[in-house]
C-alpha cells in the first residue's frame, strides 16, 4: 500500500491556528511587559482574524463547490471531552506563563509551536471552541466492520449539530480536510 499523504496541509495548519484564537485573545487582554499594546493587540488581532477568516473561507468554498461525501457510520462517539484536552494542552499551560523577558517570550512561542505542530500532525485541527460556541459537537466516526477489502478503515471526525449518531446511518457532509467533515445546520440531518 502506498504511504498515505495527508492533504490540505496549509488548511489544517490554519485550522490549528484558528483553534488557538482563545489563547491569543487572553494574551491580548493580559498584555505584555515587552511589547507595546498597539503591537501586541495588532499581532493578536491578526492571529485571531486571519486563521478564522481562512476557516470560514474553507467552509464556504466546500459548500460552494459542493465538496460533499457520504460517511457510513459503524459507530460514533461524542468527543466533547476533547475540549478538555484542548484546555489542558493550550489554554492552561500557556496563559499563566510570565513573559517578562525576551527569552521567556521565545520559550513560550517555541513551546506553543511544538503544540501547534502536534495538533497539526495528529489531525486535531477540529478542536475549536468556536464550533462549540456555535452549538456544534464533534463526533468520531468509525467505519462499519464489513468484509469488503476496499472499504476505508480510518476513523473520521464529523462536526455537526446532531446530538446523537446511530450505527448504520449514512451522513452527507462537507470535506474540511481528509479526516474532518462538517455538517452545517439545516443540511438535511435526520
Amino acid at each position: 500500500m502506498p504511504t498515505k499523504v495527508e492533504g490540505l496541509k496549509l488548511a489544517r495548519f490554519m485550522m490549528v491556528l484558528s483553534s488557538i484564537s482563545p489563547l491569543v485573545v487572553l494574551w491580548a487582554i493580559r498584555g505584555s511587559k515587552l511589547l507595546a499594546d498597539k503591537y501586541l493587540i495588532s499581532f493578536c488581532a491578526a492571529m485571531v482574524l486571519l486563521p478564522n477568516l481562512f476557516l470560514w473561507l474553507r467552509i464556504t468554498t466546500a459548500r460552494k463547490l459542493n465538496l460533499k461525501r457520504e460517511l457510513v457510520v459503524g459507530s460514533a462517539e461524542d468527543h466533547r471531552d476533547h475540549l478538555l484536552v484542548y484546555l489542558f494542552a493550550m489554554l492552561l499551560p500557556f496563559y499563566p506563563i510570565d513573559t517578562g523577558t525576551w527569552r521567556d517570550m521565545a520559550a513560550l512561542l517555541a513551546a506553543l509551536s511544538f503544540v501547534v505542530f502536534l495538533f497539526w500532525h495528529l489531525n486535531l485541527h477540529y478542536m475549536n471552541l468556536l464550533f462549540a460556541i456555535r452549538g456544534y459537537r464533534v463526533f468520531t466516526i468509525s467505519p462499519p466492520t464489513d468484509d469488503n477489502p476496499l472499504s476505508g478503515r480510518t476513523t473520521q471526525v464529523l462536526i455537526t449539530t446532531r446530538v446523537s449518531i446511530l450505527g448504520g446511518e449514512h451522513i452527507v457532509a462537507y470535506r474540511l480536510s481528509d479526516t474532518v467533515y462538517f455538517e452545517a445546520k439545516n443540511d438535511g440531518q435526520g
Partner: protein, 300 residues
C-alpha cells in the same frame, strides 16, 4: 460537456480512482468541484442512453462480444465480486494528490447517491484517462497554438459499466472484464464450477477437465458460462455421448463414467456450453458446427 453547474437533485457525487500497487489494488476518492461532478453525472446519463438503445442480455464469460453491448449481470453473481466490492465499499480514503502519479491509475469511477441513499456507480477503464498524458496537447493562446504543460486528465464521454443494487449494466464487456478482474476470478472459480458440474453430471469424470481449466482461461470461461446457464441438471448420458460422437469429441467410458480425451477437452466443454451441434437438413448428410456465439431461440 461541463457547462455551468446546475443545482443538483442528488446530494452526493463522489469521484475516485483505482490504483495498481503491487499485489493489492487500492481505491481512493479524489475531491472534485461541482462542474466536474456535473460532467460525471452527464457521463452516467450518456451511458444509460447508450445502454437503452439495445435490449439487455445476460453476460456470459464464454461469449465473444463486440466493443459495445448491453449486458446484465446480477450483483450477487460470483463474477461480479470485484465490481460489487467497488460499488459497496464505504468510507474510502481521500487522496487529492494521487493523480500526481497517473501511471498507477487503472480505472476511475463515480459514485452517485440520491436523496434516498440509492447508489449508482459508474466505472471506466483508464485508457484514455492516462493516454492523454502521453500525447502532446495544444491550446489556443492568443492567436497561436502552444503546448499545454500542465498535467491534464481527460474524462471520457461515458462509463464502461453502471452498477446499481439491481445489478451491473455493462456497456463495454472488455472494460468490465478488465476492471472486474474477470480473468483471475474465472480461473479462481474453476474448481468450484467443476464441483457444481460434478453434482449435476455424476456420470462424467471431470478430473482431466479440472486440471486443464485451472490453467487455461478460455476453458475456465466455458466452465463459468456453463454454470451461469444452469442447464446441466438433467442432461441425459446417452444423449451426451451421442452428441460427442457426432461432433468429433473423443471420449471413452471407464467404470461407468465418461472420460474426456486430452485433445478434446475444449470441445467437450463446447458441447456442454451448447456450442457444438449437428444439423441434418440434407437427409443422410449430417453436418457438425461450432458456434462462436449463440443465443437461445424462444419458440412457441
Amino acid at each position: 460537456m461541463t457547462g455551468k453547474a446546475e443545482p443538483k437533485a442528488v446530494p452526493v457525487t463522489e469521484f475516485g480512482v483505482g490504483l495498481e500497487d503491487g499485489e493489492a489494488d487500492e481505491f481512493v476518492l479524489v475531491p472534485v468541484d461541482d462542474e466536474v461532478q456535473t460532467a460525471l453525472e452527464e457521463m452516467i446519463t450518456a451511458t444509460r442512453e447508450q445502454l437503452n438503445t439495445v435490449t439487455a442480455s445476460r453476460y456470459e464469460p464464454s461469449e465473444k462480444y463486440g466493443s459495445t453491448e448491453h449486458l446484465h449481470l446480477p450483483l450477487e453473481d460470483e463474477l461480479a465480486s470485484h465490481v460489487r466490492a467497488i460499488h459497496e465499499a464505504n468510507n474510502l480514503a481521500v487522496n487529492a494528490r494521487v493523480l500526481s502519479n497517473p501511471e498507477k491509475v487503472f480505472c476511475y469511477f463515480v459514485r452517485n447517491v440520491d436523496g434516498k441513499g440509492y447508489r449508482v456507480t459508474g466505472i471506466r477503464r483508464a485508457g484514455t484517462f492516462k493516454g492523454v498524458l502521453k500525447s502532446r496537447l495544444v491550446q489556443l493562446a492568443t492567436d497561436a497554438l502552444k503546448i499545454v504543460e500542465d498535467k491534464i486528465f481527460k474524462l471520457d464521454n461515458d462509463f464502461d459499466l453502471l452498477v446499481e443494487n439491481s445489478g451491473i449494466s455493462i456497456l463495454r464487456p472488455s472494460g468490465f472484464e478488465f476492471v472486474g478482474e474477470l480473468k483471475d476470478a474465472i480461473l479462481g472459480a474453476a474448481p468450484a464450477n467443476i464441483k457444481k458440474l460434478e453434482s449435476d453430471l455424476p456420470f462424467v469424470d471431470f478430473s482431466s477437465v479440472e486440471s486443464y481449466a485451472t490453467s487455461h482461461p478460455r476453458a475456465a470461461r466455458y466452465l463459468a458460462s456453463i454454470c451461469v446457464q444452469k442447464e446441466t441438471k438433467n442432461i441425459d448420458k446417452s444423449a451426451l455421448k451421442k452428441l460427442c460422437a457426432s461432433t468429433g469429441v473423443k471420449i471413452r467410458e471407464e467404470k461407468g463414467k465418461i472420460v474426456v480425451e486430452d485433445g478434446s477437452l475444449m470441445d467437450f466443454l463446447g458441447v456442454l456450453d451448447r456450442r457444438l451441434y449437428q444439423v441434418e437438413l440434407v437427409k443422410g448428410s449430417p453436418e457438425s458446427f461450432r458456434a462462436s456465439s449463440r443465443s437461445r431461440i424462444k419458440t412457441g
